[in-house]
Subunit: 218 residues, 2 copies
Protein backbone atom coordinates (compact mmCIF):
# COMPACT_ATOMS: atom_id res chain seq x y z
CA UNK A 1 0.00 0.00 0.00
CA UNK A 2 1.33 3.42 -1.02
CA UNK A 3 2.03 5.79 1.81
CA UNK A 4 2.85 9.34 0.72
CA UNK A 5 5.08 11.68 2.75
CA UNK A 6 3.62 14.32 5.05
CA UNK A 7 3.04 17.48 3.02
CA UNK A 8 3.16 20.90 4.61
CA UNK A 9 2.76 24.41 3.26
CA UNK A 10 4.45 27.55 4.60
CA UNK A 11 3.86 31.17 3.65
CA UNK A 12 6.20 34.13 3.51
CA UNK A 13 4.07 37.23 3.50
CA UNK A 14 5.97 40.47 3.03
CA UNK A 15 4.91 44.06 3.15
CA UNK A 16 6.61 47.43 3.08
CA UNK A 17 5.61 49.51 6.03
CA UNK A 18 7.04 52.63 7.54
CA UNK A 19 10.12 52.44 5.31
CA UNK A 20 10.90 48.89 6.34
CA UNK A 21 10.48 45.48 4.73
CA UNK A 22 8.39 43.35 7.03
CA UNK A 23 7.50 39.66 7.24
CA UNK A 24 4.50 38.00 8.82
CA UNK A 25 5.21 35.53 11.63
CA UNK A 26 3.03 33.71 14.10
CA UNK A 27 3.84 32.41 17.55
CA UNK A 28 3.57 28.63 17.66
CA UNK A 29 1.09 27.18 20.12
CA UNK A 30 1.92 23.50 19.60
CA UNK A 31 5.09 21.48 20.06
CA UNK A 32 7.68 21.34 18.70
CA UNK A 33 8.91 24.91 19.15
CA UNK A 34 5.84 26.01 21.12
CA UNK A 35 6.16 29.71 21.96
CA UNK A 36 8.70 30.31 19.20
CA UNK A 37 7.95 32.45 16.18
CA UNK A 38 7.51 30.70 12.85
CA UNK A 39 6.19 31.17 9.34
CA UNK A 40 2.46 30.56 9.12
CA UNK A 41 2.12 27.01 7.86
CA UNK A 42 0.31 23.72 8.17
CA UNK A 43 -0.67 20.48 6.54
CA UNK A 44 -1.84 20.05 2.98
CA UNK A 45 -4.64 17.58 2.45
CA UNK A 46 -5.70 15.17 -0.22
CA UNK A 47 -7.91 16.75 -2.87
CA UNK A 48 -6.57 20.22 -2.21
CA UNK A 49 -3.95 22.08 -4.22
CA UNK A 50 -1.04 23.41 -2.21
CA UNK A 51 -2.27 26.90 -2.93
CA UNK A 52 -5.70 26.09 -1.54
CA UNK A 53 -4.01 24.65 1.52
CA UNK A 54 -2.02 27.87 1.86
CA UNK A 55 -5.25 29.82 1.75
CA UNK A 56 -7.02 27.88 4.51
CA UNK A 57 -3.94 27.95 6.68
CA UNK A 58 -3.41 31.68 6.31
CA UNK A 59 -7.04 32.33 7.19
CA UNK A 60 -6.83 30.13 10.26
CA UNK A 61 -3.46 31.31 11.51
CA UNK A 62 -3.40 34.94 10.51
CA UNK A 63 -6.91 35.94 9.52
CA UNK A 64 -5.69 36.71 6.04
CA UNK A 65 -6.79 35.17 2.78
CA UNK A 66 -4.89 34.89 -0.46
CA UNK A 67 -7.26 37.20 -2.30
CA UNK A 68 -6.09 40.01 -0.06
CA UNK A 69 -2.56 39.53 -1.31
CA UNK A 70 -1.34 41.61 -4.18
CA UNK A 71 1.04 38.96 -5.40
CA UNK A 72 1.67 35.27 -4.78
CA UNK A 73 4.15 32.87 -6.23
CA UNK A 74 5.59 29.55 -5.25
CA UNK A 75 8.99 29.90 -3.67
CA UNK A 76 10.56 26.47 -3.33
CA UNK A 77 9.85 23.03 -1.95
CA UNK A 78 11.98 22.10 1.01
CA UNK A 79 12.26 18.60 2.20
CA UNK A 80 14.16 18.15 5.31
CA UNK A 81 14.48 15.37 7.72
CA UNK A 82 13.21 16.23 11.16
CA UNK A 83 10.98 19.11 10.17
CA UNK A 84 7.95 17.33 11.47
CA UNK A 85 7.42 15.37 14.70
CA UNK A 86 5.68 12.70 12.65
CA UNK A 87 8.77 12.17 10.55
CA UNK A 88 10.09 13.45 7.28
CA UNK A 89 7.98 16.14 5.66
CA UNK A 90 7.93 17.96 2.36
CA UNK A 91 7.10 21.65 2.59
CA UNK A 92 5.92 23.70 -0.36
CA UNK A 93 6.51 27.38 0.36
CA UNK A 94 4.73 30.39 -1.07
CA UNK A 95 5.90 33.93 -1.27
CA UNK A 96 3.28 36.66 -1.03
CA UNK A 97 3.10 40.42 -0.94
CA UNK A 98 0.55 42.52 0.91
CA UNK A 99 0.01 45.97 -0.52
CA UNK A 100 0.89 48.80 1.77
CA UNK A 101 -2.49 50.46 1.94
CA UNK A 102 -4.46 47.28 2.65
CA UNK A 103 -6.19 46.88 6.00
CA UNK A 104 -3.88 45.05 8.36
CA UNK A 105 -6.19 42.13 9.03
CA UNK A 106 -5.24 39.73 11.73
CA UNK A 107 -7.21 37.57 14.07
CA UNK A 108 -5.28 36.96 17.20
CA UNK A 109 -5.57 33.17 17.02
CA UNK A 110 -1.83 32.71 16.87
CA UNK A 111 -0.79 36.33 17.42
CA UNK A 112 0.20 37.02 13.84
CA UNK A 113 2.58 39.93 13.68
CA UNK A 114 4.77 41.69 11.14
CA UNK A 115 8.48 41.94 11.93
CA UNK A 116 11.10 44.14 10.41
CA UNK A 117 13.36 41.91 8.33
CA UNK A 118 16.34 43.52 10.04
CA UNK A 119 15.34 42.33 13.48
CA UNK A 120 13.63 38.98 13.36
CA UNK A 121 13.11 36.96 16.54
CA UNK A 122 14.54 33.43 16.87
CA UNK A 123 12.68 31.13 14.54
CA UNK A 124 11.37 27.57 14.59
CA UNK A 125 12.56 24.76 12.30
CA UNK A 126 14.71 25.82 9.35
CA UNK A 127 12.56 28.89 8.81
CA UNK A 128 15.50 31.29 8.95
CA UNK A 129 17.02 29.54 5.93
CA UNK A 130 13.74 29.74 4.05
CA UNK A 131 13.44 33.44 4.80
CA UNK A 132 16.96 34.15 3.57
CA UNK A 133 16.17 32.27 0.40
CA UNK A 134 13.03 34.34 -0.10
CA UNK A 135 14.85 37.61 0.41
CA UNK A 136 17.56 36.71 -2.07
CA UNK A 137 14.87 35.84 -4.58
CA UNK A 138 13.03 39.07 -3.93
CA UNK A 139 16.22 41.07 -4.42
CA UNK A 140 16.85 39.35 -7.73
CA UNK A 141 13.31 39.89 -8.97
CA UNK A 142 13.40 43.55 -8.12
CA UNK A 143 15.88 44.10 -10.94
CA UNK A 144 14.17 42.22 -13.75
CA UNK A 145 10.47 42.44 -12.92
CA UNK A 146 8.12 45.20 -11.81
CA UNK A 147 7.36 43.36 -8.57
CA UNK A 148 7.69 46.65 -6.69
CA UNK A 149 4.17 47.39 -7.93
CA UNK A 150 2.81 44.81 -5.51
CA UNK A 151 4.15 46.63 -2.47
CA UNK A 152 3.17 50.18 -3.22
CA UNK A 153 -0.22 51.82 -2.75
CA UNK A 154 -1.89 53.07 -5.93
CA UNK A 155 -0.51 56.58 -5.46
CA UNK A 156 2.96 56.99 -4.07
CA UNK A 157 5.95 59.31 -4.17
CA UNK A 158 9.31 58.42 -5.70
CA UNK A 159 11.07 58.75 -2.35
CA UNK A 160 8.64 56.12 -1.00
CA UNK A 161 9.42 53.85 -3.94
CA UNK A 162 13.12 54.36 -3.42
CA UNK A 163 12.72 53.47 0.23
CA UNK A 164 11.14 50.18 -0.84
CA UNK A 165 14.09 49.38 -3.09
CA UNK A 166 16.53 50.29 -0.37
CA UNK A 167 14.87 48.17 2.27
CA UNK A 168 14.77 45.15 -0.04
CA UNK A 169 18.31 45.57 -1.37
CA UNK A 170 19.58 46.64 2.04
CA UNK A 171 21.68 49.49 0.72
CA UNK A 172 21.34 53.16 -0.12
CA UNK A 173 20.68 54.17 -3.70
CA UNK A 174 21.56 57.41 -5.43
CA UNK A 175 18.44 59.53 -5.67
CA UNK A 176 19.12 60.99 -9.10
CA UNK A 177 20.11 57.71 -10.68
CA UNK A 178 17.17 55.93 -9.12
CA UNK A 179 14.66 58.40 -10.48
CA UNK A 180 16.30 58.37 -13.87
CA UNK A 181 16.08 54.60 -14.10
CA UNK A 182 12.50 54.38 -12.92
CA UNK A 183 11.49 56.98 -15.45
CA UNK A 184 13.51 55.32 -18.22
CA UNK A 185 11.60 52.03 -17.71
CA UNK A 186 8.44 54.00 -17.89
CA UNK A 187 7.10 52.09 -14.99
CA UNK A 188 5.34 55.12 -13.52
CA UNK A 189 3.42 58.17 -14.56
CA UNK A 190 2.90 61.47 -12.75
CA UNK A 191 -0.39 62.44 -11.18
CA UNK A 192 -1.25 66.02 -10.32
CA UNK A 193 -1.46 65.23 -6.63
CA UNK A 194 1.08 66.12 -4.01
CA UNK A 195 1.89 64.48 -0.72
CA UNK A 196 2.46 66.89 2.14
CA UNK A 197 3.88 65.26 5.19
CA UNK A 198 6.25 67.48 7.06
CA UNK A 199 7.83 70.83 7.12
CA UNK A 200 9.49 70.45 3.77
CA UNK A 201 8.68 70.45 0.11
CA UNK A 202 5.77 68.13 -0.74
CA UNK A 203 6.40 65.10 -2.94
CA UNK A 204 4.68 64.55 -6.26
CA UNK A 205 2.55 61.40 -6.36
CA UNK A 206 2.87 58.85 -9.14
CA UNK A 207 1.01 55.76 -10.21
CA UNK A 208 2.19 52.67 -12.04
CA UNK A 209 1.58 52.55 -15.75
CA UNK A 210 0.64 48.89 -15.77
CA UNK A 211 -0.73 47.29 -12.68
CA UNK A 212 -0.01 43.76 -13.95
CA UNK A 213 2.95 42.17 -12.30
CA UNK A 214 5.35 40.24 -14.52
CA UNK A 215 4.79 36.67 -13.68
CA UNK A 216 8.08 35.11 -14.62
CA UNK A 217 9.23 33.19 -11.56
CA UNK A 218 12.94 32.63 -11.88
Amino acid sequence: MYRPPILTVDGLIFRHNDGKLELLLIKRKAEPFAGTYALPGGYGSHGQTTQQAMDTILIRKAGLNLKQLEYLEQLYTFDMIGRDPRGHAVSVTYFGILKNAKPKVSSTTESPQFFDIQSLPPLAFDHKTIINYAITRLQAKLSYTNIAVAFMPTHFSLPQLQSLYESILDRKLDKRNFRKQIKAQDLVKETDELLREGRHRPARLYQFTNKRIDTLHF
Copy 2:
Protein backbone atom coordinates in the same frame (compact mmCIF):
# COMPACT_ATOMS: atom_id res chain seq x y z
CA MET B 1 -7.14 11.08 10.41
CA TYR B 2 -4.76 13.09 8.21
CA ARG B 3 -4.58 12.00 4.60
CA PRO B 4 -1.81 13.64 2.61
CA PRO B 5 -2.02 14.26 -1.14
CA ILE B 6 -0.35 11.92 -3.62
CA LEU B 7 3.23 13.07 -4.15
CA THR B 8 5.03 12.45 -7.41
CA VAL B 9 8.46 13.35 -8.68
CA ASP B 10 9.44 14.06 -12.31
CA GLY B 11 12.85 14.57 -13.82
CA LEU B 12 14.03 16.74 -16.71
CA ILE B 13 17.41 15.41 -17.78
CA PHE B 14 19.14 17.47 -20.43
CA ARG B 15 22.30 16.95 -22.39
CA HIS B 16 24.05 18.62 -25.31
CA ASN B 17 24.77 16.17 -28.04
CA ASP B 18 25.77 16.62 -31.64
CA GLY B 19 25.12 20.36 -31.51
CA LYS B 20 21.61 19.90 -30.16
CA LEU B 21 19.97 20.27 -26.76
CA GLU B 22 18.34 16.99 -25.86
CA LEU B 23 15.90 15.82 -23.20
CA LEU B 24 15.37 12.36 -21.74
CA LEU B 25 11.91 10.86 -22.18
CA ILE B 26 10.47 7.43 -21.55
CA LYS B 27 7.55 5.69 -23.19
CA ARG B 28 4.78 5.04 -20.68
CA LYS B 29 3.76 1.43 -20.16
CA ALA B 30 0.85 2.03 -17.80
CA GLU B 31 -2.40 3.91 -18.18
CA PRO B 32 -3.15 6.75 -18.39
CA PHE B 33 -1.25 7.73 -21.53
CA ALA B 34 0.17 4.24 -22.12
CA GLY B 35 2.41 4.32 -25.18
CA THR B 36 2.89 8.08 -25.00
CA TYR B 37 6.23 9.68 -24.19
CA ALA B 38 6.62 11.32 -20.81
CA LEU B 39 9.18 12.64 -18.36
CA PRO B 40 10.62 9.91 -16.18
CA GLY B 41 8.67 10.13 -12.92
CA GLY B 42 6.91 8.25 -10.19
CA TYR B 43 5.66 8.26 -6.63
CA GLY B 44 7.50 9.64 -3.63
CA SER B 45 7.23 7.65 -0.46
CA HIS B 46 7.11 8.36 3.21
CA GLY B 47 10.53 8.58 4.82
CA GLN B 48 12.24 9.48 1.56
CA THR B 49 13.30 12.93 0.41
CA THR B 50 12.00 13.94 -2.97
CA GLN B 51 15.55 13.83 -4.25
CA GLN B 52 15.97 10.24 -3.06
CA ALA B 53 12.70 9.39 -4.76
CA MET B 54 14.01 10.99 -7.97
CA ASP B 55 17.09 8.79 -7.73
CA THR B 56 15.25 5.48 -7.38
CA ILE B 57 12.82 6.41 -10.12
CA LEU B 58 15.54 7.40 -12.57
CA ILE B 59 17.37 4.16 -11.93
CA ARG B 60 14.25 2.11 -12.47
CA LYS B 61 12.94 3.97 -15.50
CA ALA B 62 16.11 5.00 -17.28
CA GLY B 63 18.98 3.08 -15.77
CA LEU B 64 20.54 6.34 -14.67
CA ASN B 65 21.38 7.47 -11.18
CA LEU B 66 21.72 10.97 -9.85
CA LYS B 67 25.44 10.59 -9.18
CA GLN B 68 25.97 10.30 -12.90
CA LEU B 69 24.48 13.72 -13.37
CA GLU B 70 26.76 16.70 -13.49
CA TYR B 71 24.16 19.03 -12.08
CA LEU B 72 20.81 18.77 -10.34
CA GLU B 73 18.44 21.35 -8.98
CA GLN B 74 14.81 21.50 -8.06
CA LEU B 75 12.74 23.07 -10.79
CA TYR B 76 9.26 23.71 -9.47
CA THR B 77 6.38 21.98 -7.76
CA PHE B 78 3.32 21.57 -9.92
CA ASP B 79 0.02 20.66 -8.50
CA MET B 80 -2.62 20.09 -10.99
CA ILE B 81 -5.95 18.50 -10.83
CA GLY B 82 -6.27 15.40 -12.97
CA ARG B 83 -2.59 14.60 -13.21
CA ASP B 84 -3.06 11.30 -11.51
CA PRO B 85 -5.75 8.64 -11.99
CA ARG B 86 -6.02 8.41 -8.22
CA GLY B 87 -6.95 12.06 -7.96
CA HIS B 88 -5.12 15.28 -7.34
CA ALA B 89 -1.36 14.97 -7.13
CA VAL B 90 1.53 17.24 -6.27
CA SER B 91 4.61 16.81 -8.42
CA VAL B 92 8.05 18.02 -7.41
CA THR B 93 10.21 18.34 -10.52
CA TYR B 94 13.98 18.21 -10.81
CA PHE B 95 16.17 19.57 -13.50
CA GLY B 96 19.38 17.68 -14.27
CA ILE B 97 22.27 17.85 -16.70
CA LEU B 98 24.25 14.93 -18.08
CA LYS B 99 27.74 15.80 -19.21
CA ASN B 100 28.40 15.28 -22.88
CA ALA B 101 31.19 12.74 -22.59
CA LYS B 102 29.38 10.51 -20.09
CA PRO B 103 28.42 6.97 -21.12
CA LYS B 104 24.87 7.04 -22.38
CA VAL B 105 23.52 4.57 -19.87
CA SER B 106 20.06 3.27 -20.36
CA SER B 107 18.34 0.06 -19.53
CA THR B 108 15.50 -0.58 -21.90
CA THR B 109 12.88 -1.01 -19.17
CA GLU B 110 10.79 1.86 -20.45
CA SER B 111 12.78 2.63 -23.61
CA PRO B 112 14.44 5.78 -22.31
CA GLN B 113 15.55 7.98 -25.13
CA PHE B 114 16.97 11.45 -25.70
CA PHE B 115 15.02 13.76 -27.99
CA ASP B 116 16.10 16.96 -29.65
CA ILE B 117 14.27 19.79 -27.91
CA GLN B 118 13.30 21.08 -31.34
CA SER B 119 11.32 17.97 -32.24
CA LEU B 120 9.67 16.44 -29.23
CA PRO B 121 6.97 13.79 -29.64
CA PRO B 122 3.47 14.31 -28.19
CA LEU B 123 3.69 14.19 -24.43
CA ALA B 124 1.61 12.81 -21.57
CA PHE B 125 -0.05 14.91 -18.85
CA ASP B 126 1.05 18.53 -18.69
CA HIS B 127 4.63 17.58 -19.40
CA LYS B 128 4.98 19.95 -22.33
CA THR B 129 4.28 22.88 -20.02
CA ILE B 130 6.86 21.64 -17.53
CA ILE B 131 9.45 21.31 -20.28
CA ASN B 132 8.84 24.82 -21.53
CA TYR B 133 9.22 26.08 -18.02
CA ALA B 134 12.53 24.24 -17.66
CA ILE B 135 13.89 25.61 -20.91
CA THR B 136 13.02 29.17 -19.98
CA ARG B 137 14.80 28.68 -16.68
CA LEU B 138 17.81 27.18 -18.37
CA GLN B 139 18.01 30.11 -20.78
CA ALA B 140 17.89 32.55 -17.90
CA LYS B 141 20.55 30.73 -15.91
CA LEU B 142 22.90 30.60 -18.84
CA SER B 143 23.38 34.34 -18.56
CA TYR B 144 24.05 34.69 -14.86
CA THR B 145 25.62 31.36 -13.88
CA ASN B 146 28.34 29.14 -15.31
CA ILE B 147 25.86 26.30 -15.80
CA ALA B 148 27.32 25.66 -19.24
CA VAL B 149 30.13 23.87 -17.42
CA ALA B 150 27.78 21.01 -16.62
CA PHE B 151 27.12 20.26 -20.27
CA MET B 152 30.61 20.36 -21.70
CA PRO B 153 33.28 17.65 -21.59
CA THR B 154 36.46 18.57 -19.71
CA HIS B 155 38.20 19.65 -22.91
CA PHE B 156 36.21 21.47 -25.55
CA SER B 157 36.56 24.06 -28.27
CA LEU B 158 34.98 27.49 -28.21
CA PRO B 159 32.85 26.71 -31.27
CA GLN B 160 31.45 23.73 -29.35
CA LEU B 161 30.68 25.95 -26.40
CA GLN B 162 29.04 28.49 -28.66
CA SER B 163 26.93 25.74 -30.17
CA LEU B 164 25.70 24.87 -26.67
CA TYR B 165 24.69 28.47 -26.04
CA GLU B 166 22.98 28.68 -29.40
CA SER B 167 20.99 25.49 -28.91
CA ILE B 168 19.81 26.60 -25.49
CA LEU B 169 19.00 30.17 -26.49
CA ASP B 170 17.66 29.06 -29.85
CA ARG B 171 19.38 31.81 -31.81
CA LYS B 172 22.68 32.48 -33.50
CA LEU B 173 25.36 34.40 -31.64
CA ASP B 174 28.14 36.54 -33.04
CA LYS B 175 31.37 34.56 -32.91
CA ARG B 176 33.66 37.43 -32.00
CA ASN B 177 31.41 38.84 -29.32
CA PHE B 178 30.80 35.40 -27.87
CA ARG B 179 34.49 34.62 -27.55
CA LYS B 180 35.21 38.03 -26.11
CA GLN B 181 32.55 37.63 -23.43
CA ILE B 182 33.61 34.12 -22.46
CA LYS B 183 37.18 35.27 -22.14
CA ALA B 184 36.17 38.39 -20.21
CA GLN B 185 34.42 36.26 -17.57
CA ASP B 186 37.53 34.15 -17.38
CA LEU B 187 35.43 31.09 -17.36
CA VAL B 188 37.90 29.11 -19.48
CA LYS B 189 41.60 28.66 -20.00
CA GLU B 190 43.52 27.46 -23.04
CA THR B 191 45.12 24.06 -23.23
CA ASP B 192 47.82 23.24 -25.74
CA GLU B 193 45.68 20.63 -27.43
CA LEU B 194 43.95 20.99 -30.75
CA LEU B 195 40.84 19.32 -32.08
CA ARG B 196 41.10 18.21 -35.69
CA GLU B 197 37.85 17.13 -37.15
CA GLY B 198 37.52 18.00 -40.79
CA ARG B 199 39.25 19.54 -43.70
CA HIS B 200 39.60 22.88 -42.07
CA ARG B 201 41.64 24.62 -39.43
CA PRO B 202 41.69 22.72 -36.12
CA ALA B 203 40.13 24.28 -33.03
CA ARG B 204 42.04 24.99 -29.86
CA LEU B 205 40.76 23.08 -26.83
CA TYR B 206 39.93 24.83 -23.57
CA GLN B 207 38.98 23.78 -20.06
CA PHE B 208 36.91 25.54 -17.43
CA THR B 209 38.78 27.45 -14.78
CA ASN B 210 36.49 26.36 -11.99
CA LYS B 211 34.54 23.19 -12.25
CA ARG B 212 32.12 24.19 -9.48
CA ILE B 213 28.76 25.22 -10.76
CA ASP B 214 27.15 28.28 -9.19
CA THR B 215 24.33 26.98 -7.15
CA LEU B 216 22.04 29.98 -7.01
CA HIS B 217 18.69 28.73 -8.15
CA PHE B 218 16.67 31.68 -9.30
